[in-house]
Structures are given as C-alpha cells and as structure tokens.
Symmetry: C2
Subunit: 345 residues, 2 copies
Amino acid sequence: MLKLRPMALGSNPKLADVARAAGVSLATASRALAQPDLVRAKTCERVRDAVNMLGYVPHGAARALATRRSKTIGAVFPPLDNPIFAKATHALSRELSQAGYTLLLATHDYDPGAELLATRALIERGVDGLVLVGMDHDPGLYRLLERASLPYEITWSLDHGGYHHCVGVSHRLASVHVAQHLLDLGHREFAVIAGETAHNDRARDRLAGAREALASRGIGLPSSRVREAPFAVAAGKAALAGLLADAPGFTAVICGNDPLAIGALLECRARGITVPDQLSIAGFDDVDLAAELTPGLTTVRVPSAEIGARAGKRLLARLAGKRVRRMEEIKAPLIVRGTTGPAPA
Amino acid sequence: MLKLRPMALGSNPKLADVARAAGVSLATASRALAQPDLVRAKTCERVRDAVNMLGYVPHGAARALATRRSKTIGAVFPPLDNPIFAKATHALSRELSQAGYTLLLATHDYDPGAELLATRALIERGVDGLVLVGMDHDPGLYRLLERASLPYEITWSLDHGGYHHCVGVSHRLASVHVAQHLLDLGHREFAVIAGETAHNDRARDRLAGAREALASRGIGLPSSRVREAPFAVAAGKAALAGLLADAPGFTAVICGNDPLAIGALLECRARGITVPDQLSIAGFDDVDLAAELTPGLTTVRVPSAEIGARAGKRLLARLAGKRVRRMEEIKAPLIVRGTTGPAPA
DNA sequence: ATCGCAAATGAAAACGTTTGCAGTAGCTTT
DNA sequence: AAAGCTACTGCAAACGTTTTCATTTGCGAT
C-alpha cells in the first residue's frame, strides 16, 4: 500500500473516488448524496464519510450537463451604486440561496447593447431563469429569451400588455399622487428634475405621470422647467442650480428619484433657500436616507428589497412547476415628510 | 423533405445541429467558433451562417466540463446596501465582462457560517477564481480554498503575513491619520462610533488605529466613549444620541465609516449642535455623499471601485498565467472637509 | 502528372455527473 | 425452509462540448 491517495494529486476527487472509497458503485454514491431515502442508511453514511475524508466537492458543470439544471439564476441590473438596485440584488440573492440557487450577476450602465451581450453571456452560462429590470430592452433580448424559452421576471415595471411576467409598481400613478399632493398644497409653478429617460421606462413613466396630473388641472410644464439628470446627488444639485438660473419662479420641484431630490435639497441648503417654506421638494424611491434627513424627504416608497425578494420567489415557484400570477403589482404609497409644504404666498 | 427543422422542437440546437447544417463535422464546427484561424475561411463562414440560422447558443456547462474552465469568477460580499461594496461589485463585474468572464455573486450579512456555505456553492458552480472581502473568515473557508487550489483575492484588507494575495488599504494607518488630524486641531476629549467589530477586521483595525494614535499622545478612550453600531445612517444617529446621553463632554467623534458619520451629523443638526464649532466629526470611506454635504464630511478616501477593479484585473492576470505582486496596497488619504475644526475653548 | 508538405478536416475519447432499467440482496410470510 | 416481495444496488447510456491524433485535402514545386 504505497499510494494512500488513489487520485492524481493535482486534480480534485470526483464522485468515482468517493464511490471507490466507500466501496459502492458510482450510481449509489450519487444517490446517497442526492436522494438519501433511496439508499440504505448505513451505506449512506459510508458515502458521507468518504465525502468528508476526501473533501469531495461536486462538479457543478457535470451535474448541470446531466440534469440540464444549473441551480443558478441570472440577473441583469443597472449599476448597483443606486441603492435601490443594491437592495434588490441583496434580497434576491438571499432568497435564491435559501433555495440552493446562486445568483449570476451582470451589470450594464444603461446601455441596451451591453445589456443584450450580458444577457447572452448569462444564458450561455446556463442560468435556469432571469431577472430583468424594466421593460425597455433591445428587441433582440426578447427574441433571445423566447428562443431559449427561459422563465424570466421583469422587475420594477408592470407590463399592462399582460405578456411578460412582472413584479413592480405603477410609476405613473405614484407620480400622479406626488403632483396632486403638491397641487393640493397650493403650488402652481413647478419644476421637474427627471432621471434620464432614454432606455428607462421608469423615468419616462414618472415624468409622464407628473405632466399628466398637472395638465389635468390646467397647469403646463414648459421645457425650461424640466431637466434630465443622471442618477446622483451631485447631478441633482447641478440640476437645481441650472433651473434656478434659467427659469426661476417655481415653488415646487418634483424629482425623479431620491438622490436627485437630496441633491436639490443640499443645493438649497448651500444657497440658504429654506425648505419647504420657499421651495417644496419631492423625491421618489424612499431610500434609507430620506427618513433620516431633517426635514425628512417627502417621497414615494418603492419597496426595492421586496421587489427583489418577490422576483426571486416567483421565479423559484415557476421553476418548481407552480403557477404564479403573471403580473404582481406592489403598492407604492406617497410618504409625506417635511420637504413639502404650502406654497409661499 | 417534410421536416424543415431537424432537431426536436422543444430542445435548443446544439453544436451537432450546427455542424450538420453547415455540412461539416462536429470538430470542425467547434474549431470554427473557438479557433477560426485553424479552419478555412469559407468553412468558417458556413458554420457561422448555420449558427445564426439556428440561433445556436453554446452550452456553457458542457464547455466547462470539457475545458475545465467556466469563465466565471465568484465574489463573496457583505450586503450591497453598503455603497462601498456596491461600487466594488460594479467595477469588478465590469472588469470581468470585458474579458469575457461573468460574476457569480454571493452575499452574506456578515455571518461566517453563511459565508462558508456561500463560498462552497460558488466553488461547486465551478468558478475559476474568487474575490473575498477582508481577512476574517471561517478557518474552514481557507481550507476549502486550499483544497480546491483556486486562485483568490482578498480585498480591502492587507495580509501583512504575506500569505494571501490581496489588494486593499491600511485601515489602521488611515485611522491613525484621522486621530492625529483631530489632535492637531487641539481636541483632547474623544468619542468613537465604530462599526461592528465581530467578524470584521477592517472595523477592528480602524478602532485600533484611533486608540493607538490617541494613546501615543497620552489620551485614553474610556469604554463609555466607544460605541459599536451596525452600518447605517440611523444607527449613527442613535449612537451619537447614546454617547451624548451617557458620556458627554467630548469635542470630536471618530466614526468607523461614512454612513455612521452622516448619521452623527444629522443627529447634531436635529439637536442644534453646530458642526464643527461645537463638535467635530470624521468618517471613513468617502462615499459620494460625503463631498456633497455642507459642511463636507472629513473622511478617509478608500477607493472602493478601484479595489474592485484591481481585484478583477489581478485575478484575470493570474488566470492568464502572469505573475502579480502578492500584496497591493492602495493609498487611503485623509480628506479634510468642513466637519472637523479646532476644538472649542 | 506526381510528389511532398502543410493545412484543413474528421472520428472518437474524454470531462464528471445523473438516471432508467435490470438485477440482487434482504425481509416477511407461510 | 422456501417463496415472494420490496428495498437496494450496479451497469451503462446519456448530457454537449473540446481536443488529440490520424487522415484527407489542396497546392506549389518538380
């Protein structure tokens, strides 16, 4: 007995090595690990001992090849610097790992071409399902999904066409509520700092909702009073500065998301503009910080962690063969805090 | 010719189908895609046409099985709600996808047991390399890595033992600089809001650095003046409130990270304590928001995106057979802004 | 034309699992 | 103690690639 370790030194032990060590066949070893109720308890234990002794780690690719399941879910997300996506990713990852799945993540800086490529890469990696953000995608992406006949979930947005599985909120409606709240406070002169609307249906819907609510009370929104800004506090500051310079006279600013609103708020503070006495500011998303500021930021609560978790649950349910509602709408309530107040006289 | 599509309807086309459609052998089809210079240009094109026509997508698991490479890198990260990790993840993902690699992400809420499990799951999925955060891990994790003989990179922390490959900053040293800066401003009564130090070597090093710098000038830090708080703005607010209640009299607060510092700052604002006149506050990390506040937050710049990107580059280089320095230290300079000032008389 | 060589192709053996089917134990029952 | 049944176990064939090695093809030089 010169060789204590039967397998090559460099390579990892495989199931065959485990089987040999346990004195059973390959098939039995496999079953002992995957379906222990099919194999005698004693045998089972021998196999488990062998596994521990050899430090055997299953070879996922081989398993995936044989079972045609990778136990992996792909997610294609915008940059995670946006805390809402970070939260959703975390919640999703959590949900999946509880069920023995792992998250394969791709991020893409809002570029549809890159998104398509990333999605392709995920599909090649053999993901069992996909989580996407929003409805705005390269048409090739939908074709790809179709061909691969992969289950997927659209998050954040709702597909009122009823075709895609989705879990999200009505950005338009929530935005209407924001505008109405400000109208009810007596505001008549508005400005909007929107997120970038290209390739982003959420940003477009939010802008559209605000426009619509104002229009329905006969209030227009000149283009000089609307600015698009990339998602970031700094951009919010700059946008407000620009609005004040080019088209002053508004008493309320509706922002496309919280970081923009926080930027606007900080710009006001830096300039000595009092909020909400001289200017009301509303955000969207309800990031953690929104509640901590003084005054607290009036905003719309979009439960991003819940969206991530629900998307995970739904996908897992579908993979388990259960049926789920095609569309799951999550309520996004208006949270009134201190940054909105009556219009100045 | 009744059947136009030779493969089963439900299943995806495989390389064999492509080969048949192109009228070449399996081997040639494989080469045409992977090493086009080995096959005649005309043949190559026929294969590519067949690929497009059939919508062929390679089966990653099969490829991984054959090549023993998955083109996938695993990352085991704490929650991404912390923007520093979100940034690093994004930068890492970017770096990898440029090289045709994909990121397999696991997150773990600072629980070493969960971290170990997650890492195992990643290894089973066949990652070619791993990115870890910090040095504090279950010993089983290091054993696992050893056995799998997987290349990995430790991020954020530095292994002065010279054993692990790592890219990070000296938290201790940077923290010393923070304390010295405050000492130089004349402060003598300090409080510290530290991150949770259990399972977190960065938080420990930062606390130790502050302690050490104060001690070297003969200043003690009673335990009533030290509080640990989970990473979050709200926890920072609460911690400062607690310190003010239990052990008032300090003129400077050193915080374990920026969110805690921002929380402390907001608590001051809510209580009418002026910063820095009555109280100086310093953070750590330099998150985006730190520069946007007024006054700006004095903090230490830890380039998290760069850490993520460097970790990716290093791992890719090693996978390509190149040698890299075992330890890569990134400078973490003190950024003095408005929240620190002379000690009140 | 023929030869020779390089370049292009093909056949078949991996890669490490799972799983249907067939066979062999081990019990229970008489 | 034999029979019958069930509960386990083993053999071998997938799964879809890549890659080695042998073979064929194409082409320029003789």
